[in-house]
């Protein structure tokens, strides 16, 4: 069982990160355009190696690092998301944007930091003891803070970074204090042993630890009332970084929640159903209601992402053998749909330098294909059939229904309608409002056009092709057996 090959994906990605960093040192500014393809190639190799990994299960480092079918899916999602993010950042960083944002240089560092964050996320889902879990969580989130503050000339970017650092550090302090108490109660740092030791624990110290760890998890997942950082960070961060944050931090948050709720407190999860249902309802409602009144498209997408976190929480209700595949599937759908929308936002910001929703008026006349792709992405996020977002939401809603939370299904359905309303606001600007006559129409960009096209096709077919869900479901069954 001690074969190194289960760690190859991480090793490849971190090696790529260092190759990018060292190559950056010995390159001229012009030749640094090659750094993004190097990073993308490394991620592609990582995905290929992960995809051909056999066997998928195994453990290393005395059981502190383990690979399982669910971790496999998470790793694929992490690497795919960052691959798309790297491609999306190319135009902005290589100076091909018509409106060049100030302070968006330092390509070597940028890709290096992005890749190290991916490694952190990949370790996060494979961690099997408290120390590894905490360290990998920090490796995953600290780079995101640096990326959010990337534009040194822009006060908003710095402000976003500082808010992220302070609130992120607060969440880490909660988590690590909770972990230290758990360690003391369980007399072990191994996640599975802690799970066994605390299965019947009812002491106040244990409840404190649970509350602290869950608050930290809620922060990472942007669960209301721990969502405050998301809006400012999304708005202030450079647009390609926002795109990466919206999918990567959500995926990492879900991975962390899996580790906490299923592995650590798996025995107690059924008793917490009412609490999770309450948080899910509050999160999706608040995110949706606040999104209605937003004008900045990045802030708008931030509240949309918060409400999506509420949908994810539905999967923690009821039977894990159905909830886990539904959540992973919806994560895949969410990542692809959100990246499709954000690719359009990044491209639009590159071409016009504008990020208000009103600025998108008449986009269907000047760039019909891009507008169509953005519309498909938004409709998938809203959950309109036959797009994949509908299928993903359907699975999640049916789990809440089977768990007996019929009121929650009603709340979620109402929320989907609200979300459709505000996603349609953007579509209305693009399709119904007349175009600005004076403004120069934005011209398409090769890399982003190809990305958007591929993502839109995936969004459209992901829900129709059943094989992916079946594979996730089979992976979950194996994984659940290993939890016991």
């Amino acid at each position: 069982m001690t074969t190194m090959n289960i760690a190859y994906p991480e090793i490849i990605v971190i090696a790529t990160a260092f190759i990018v960093l060292v190559a950056d040192l010995f390159m001229t500014e012009r030749s640094r355009a090659a750094l993004a393809p190097i990073a993308a190639l490394g991620l592609l190799v990582g995905i290929a190696v992960t995809a051909t990994l056999t066997p998928v299960t195994g453990e290393l480092l005395g059981g502190r690092f383990a690979m399982d079918p669910v971790a496999w899916w998470f790793k694929i999602v992490f690497m795919l998301a960052s691959l798309v993010a790297v491609i999306m950042s190319m135009d902005t960083l290589d100076g091909r944007a018509r409106v060049r944002p100030r302070g968006m240089g330092f390509r070597g560092e940028y890709y290096w930091i992005m890749l190290s964050s991916v490694v952190g996320m990949m370790l996060l889902i494979s961690a099997r003891d408290l120390v590894t879990l905490f360290v990998s969580l920090e490796i995953a989130t600290l780079p995101l803070m640096v990326l959010a503050a990337w534009r040194r000339d822009d006060a908003k970017s710095g402000e976003a970074g500082l808010k992220y650092v302070i609130l992120g550090a607060l969440a880490s302090a909660f988590i690590v204090y909770g972990f230290s108490i758990l360690y003391g109660l369980a007399r072990s740092a191994d996640l599975n042993e802690i799970a066994r030791a605390v299965a019947t624990e009812k002491s106040p110290a244990f409840l404190l630890a649970v509350a602290l760890v869950l608050a930290g998890t809620g922060f990472k997942l942007t669960m209301v009332p721990f969502h405050m950082w998301a809006a400012d960070v999304y708005q202030g961060a450079p647009t390609p970084v926002t795109a990466y944050l919206s999918v990567a931090s959500k995926a990492a948050g879900l991975a962390f929640a899996f580790q906490i709720l299923f592995r650590l407190f798996g025995d107690m999860l059924p008793q917490w159903g009412a609490l999770i249902a309450l948080f899910a309802a509050i999160t999706m409602t608040l995110g949706n209601v606040v999104a209605i009144v937003q004008h900045n498209i990045k802030r708008f997408m931030a509240f949309s992402a918060i409400s999506q976190a509420g949908y994810f929480l539905l999967g923690f209700l009821g039977d894990a053998s159905e909830g886990v595949p539904a959540m992973i599937f919806y994560l895949l759908v969410y990542v692809v749909s959100n990246l499709a929308v954000f690719a359009c936002i990044v491209w639009f910001a590159n071409e016009t330098g504008k990020e208000q929703i009103e600025d998108y008026r008449g986009l269907s006349l000047t760039n019909p294909l891009t507008a169509l792709c953005m519309m498909i992405g938004l409709f998938s996020l809203a959950g309109i059939p036959p797009l994949s977002g509908f299928v993903g939401k359907f699975f999640l809603f049916s789990i809440a229904s089977k768990a007996g939370c019929h009121w929650l299904v009603a709340v979620a359905a109402v929320n989907s309608t609200i979300s459709l309303y505000y996603y349609l606001r953007v579509v209305r600007q693009m399709y119904i409002e007349p175009a600005d006559k004076e403004a120069q129409p934005p011209s398409p960009s090769t890399s982003i056009s190809i990305t958007v096209a591929i993502l839109t096709i995936v969004v459209s077919i992901l829900g129709i092709v059943p094989t992916i869900y079946q594979h996730i479901h089979a992976a979950t069954i194996t994984w659940l057996a290993s939890l016991q």
Partner: protein, 116 residues
Amino acid sequence: MEYLFVLAMVGLAASMVAGGLIVARLVAPHKPGGLKDIPYECGEQPIGQAWIQFNVGYYLFGLLFLVFDVEAALMYPWAVVFRSVGLAGLIEMAIFVLVLIIGLVYAWRKGVLEWV
């Protein structure tokens, strides 16, 4: 009863400090002024006030220093068990240090170590 010892300890500690000060006042010659009034800066004569704005370059050095400061915290446990972990441990630590050295070389090449 047990706390009586604590009280005795407090009293003893206070009397040690007070005694030292009183003896110094009685025995030491009293000649104030001159160089004696300036703050002690490890033997250097201070220039100007301490409440000035420090050059931002200090913070950059501080940040860089912190990395290697913490590296030492990780190397101490390894040094304690150096004999028992053997060659494998040495190689692992070499990889760890190599990563940090890449960081240092990077900062060097980027001109962070230049004083501006």
